[in-house]
């Protein structure tokens, strides 16, 4: 196996356009804000990027093509990344190779979505054909119901309890309280979690993300360019991506990471124990638990026990979703696929401010996306390391 390393390519200039619960602005507006923010961090003008990767659910009827004209960009490399929760890592993978090959010099990777009143219902109502044909007509619980079935099966299979999952949610809320941009501002106690009203059993209120509007961005460029600009940057040690793995598993209890996890750590020449922090895709705590298992932190079925023995807060022994993640900062559509990447980039470049983990150099970022029918189809992960 001879995968080429990502030598000479880095990511820099993380920017988060602060989320709002509802917004009358458009995806175009949100993407412009994040792009502008990232460019300002880098000291670049829009004319100076020649690559553009976009992830968004609410651009319709536009595509990234229309965005170039709308935003006055003239890239020589353009990509649309429709992979939801995996879109941050997938965008990075593609952009990094483009920069490495010289097809582009600076690629702006941006994800952004708006959330008008009733916008989430409308977004869901045309999400995928399988969802229209085979999932919405069954109670229309949306992703909550789909993941409730997964969580129900997981609990039956491995004996995990709601209290185990509460440990993840409660720690993330503690992290979010240090992030001024997190939508959730109130402390969450373990009892709050356990006594929350049911949404789709066994999922209750604090297992769910809050749909919101927002955008996230970062730039991919050569290491030389980042140095010339005087930017703190992160190197890409390893990445993996997989779609529709284990299609014959009756209920999704593992994701595509399992197929590629050995390659992930081999390419990085590191292991899970080397990570200073972990950013999982946390649409539900059970999914975060699954990622710790599938990415090699512990055996399958032991994730809940493994995590309960760990302190997942910023000051803990396994800092996890340090910005509060989607569970406590909010799920801004496709930006939910970028939130972990952008936060990890801040962390390993020591620019995370109030959520900074001490001496954070190495981070694992994991992505999971797109419930086409009964399960998340896309999985991805990458290992970042702070430069110089």
């Amino acid at each position: 196996m001879g995968r080429q390393a990502y030598d000479g390519v880095v990511l820099a200039a993380p920017f988060t356009a602060p989320y709002t619960r509802f917004s009358n602005e458009t995806a175009h507006w949100w993407i412009a804000r994040a792009l502008r923010g990232s460019l300002q961090v880098a000291g670049l003008s829009p004319r100076q990027i020649d690559g553009f990767a976009v992830a968004s659910f609410t651009l319709f009827p536009d595509t990234p093509v229309a965005l170039t004209q709308h935003l006055g960009l003239s890239p020589r490399w353009l990509d649309s990344v429709p992979m939801g929760g995996a879109s941050g890592i997938v965008a990075l993978r593609r952009a990094a190779r483009a920069v490495q090959a010289g097809d582009a010099e600076v690629v702006a990777c941006v994800a952004g979505d708006t959330n008008a009143i009733d916008g989430f219902r409308k977004l869901l109502s045309a999400f995928s054909r399988f969802a229209l044909d085979a999932s919405y007509p069954y109670g229309y619980g949306g992703p909550n119901a789909s993941f409730a079935l997964l969580m129900d099966r997981y609990m039956t299979e491995y004996g995990a309890t709601r209290a185990d999952f509460g440990h993840v949610a409660v720690a993330q809320r503690a992290n979010a309280l240090r992030n001024p941009h997190a939508l959730m501002k109130k402390p969450l106690s373990h009892d709050d979690y356990l006594n929350a009203r049911p949404i789709a059993e066994p999922i209750a209120l604090f297992d769910c993300v809050m749909p919101c509007a927002g955008a996230e961005a970062f730039l991919v460029m050569t290491e030389d360019r980042a140095r010339a600009l005087g930017l703190p940057y992160a190197r890409i040690r390893s990445t993996i991506e997989r779609h529709n793995a284990f299609a014959d598993d009756p209920v999704q209890l593992r994701g595509g990471w399992v197929v590629d996890v050995d390659e992930l750590w081999q390419m990085a020449a590191m292991g899970p124990e080397d990570m200073d922090l972990v950013q999982t895709y946390d649409d539900y705590p059970v999914i975060s638990v699954m990622q710790f298992e599938d990415l090699g932190f512990c055996a399958k079925g032991e994730g809940a026990t493994y995590l309960r023995a760990r302190d997942l807060t910023i000051g803990g022994d396994l800092p996890h979703n340090t910005s509060g993640g989607q569970l406590s900062a909010g799920q801004a559509g496709a930006a939910g696929g970028f939130i972990g990447m952008v936060e990890a980039l801040r962390q390993v470049t020591a620019t995370a401010g109030p959520t900074q983990v001490d001496a954070a150099r190495r981070a694992l970022v994991s992505g999971f996306g797109m419930i086409n029918f009964d399960r998340g189809v896309c999985s991805a992960a990458c290992v970042l390391e702070g430069g110089a």
């Binding site: 219902r121 007509p137 109670g139 229309y140 619980g141 409730a148 079935l149 059993e201 299609a247 209920v251």
Partner: protein, 414 residues
Amino acid sequence: MTQPLAPPPKKNPERRTPVPMLPPGTRSRAGLGLALAAGQGRFALQVCTECGAVQYPPRDACHQCLATDLAWRDLPSGGQLLAETTIHASSDPYFRERLPWRAGTVQLDAGPVVLAHIHGDVARGARVRMALMLDRAGQGVLVALPEQETPHMQDDTILRAMGTHPRHRRVLITDARAPEAVALARALLDAGVAQVFMGLAEAWRPFPGRTRLEALDKVSLHRLDVTDAESLTDLAGAIGGKVDILINNARHIRPGGVIGASLTDARDSMEIGALGLMRLAQAFGPGMRARGADGVNSAVAWVNVLPAQALAHDPGFAGAVAAGAAARALSLSLRAELRGGGIRLLHVHAGPMDDEWHQPLPPPKLAPAALARAIVQGLEQGLEEIHAGDVARDLAQRFAENPALLAREMEGGA
């Protein structure tokens, strides 16, 4: 265990009748195949004609071998409940009014894993019997039922929300004089209906069933002539708000071909069978469509009894069958118009009946009681297309296989 459904209280006229909402009704072209099977009470999914892989959700290409020839085939309906949830929050207005709602993941014996509605009597992790049923939007959905019958299982909230069961409902039968009228009234009473209104044209003309109908409790006779719009307006004004199920069995079957036939008979067949349906729909359709969510005895179904030969033609009953074909076409349009109110339109294709107008025909012929049973079963199961009698079933099968060949075969008589 399912609690038996209590009869509804008298309607409070001061309360607003709830606006009928429908569950999500958008489907792909392949996805519509579920509704076709569900409407016929079949449990069918797509099967790859090359490698035999069963497909779900409905697809355009085989997920095993990429072949594009996928055929709908009847399959074993057993399954095992793997995971379940009870939904307490939904952004969809239809489900939001009906929470909590139980749904689950079922491993089908036929292969695929599906998401399904779960009947209240199904235990966690139990074996289930799957059914494809029409929901209120008229789309086919999978329902996991207890493997064995349970008491009052028809009264389950999910089945009641989707189905057209006559229990506690009030039914209008348009033609008290039709051969199946008495048997139909009895079968409906046995199914638990609250009231049977029977329409009677030219009430002065005696007919043998009259005394038997008058002897039945909860059955009343009303002036109704589908060729007389005024009689329909009058009756709709009197009982239109109480008709939960309308069974239009008014038809005028007379023998004869085209060249030597009576135009008067043909016109009567059209006036009663086809235009009568249209008049009825104009009188009763608006009220029913507005009452699709009106509690336990909401309006749910419209039944049209059609001659089975209406799928093609019949040289021995040319005019009557042509009226049936016209009625069927009108009825398909009416089905679309009623769907917005959540009202199911059931076609009952009746084979030649054992009556005076089919007297010279050889058997098998359809007994009035058999037709009545088929109609009530169709309502109990929430179907959309049923074929009553051996001749009707045979015609339907031949029609499905090759409509042109059927038409040619009918030239020599069915």
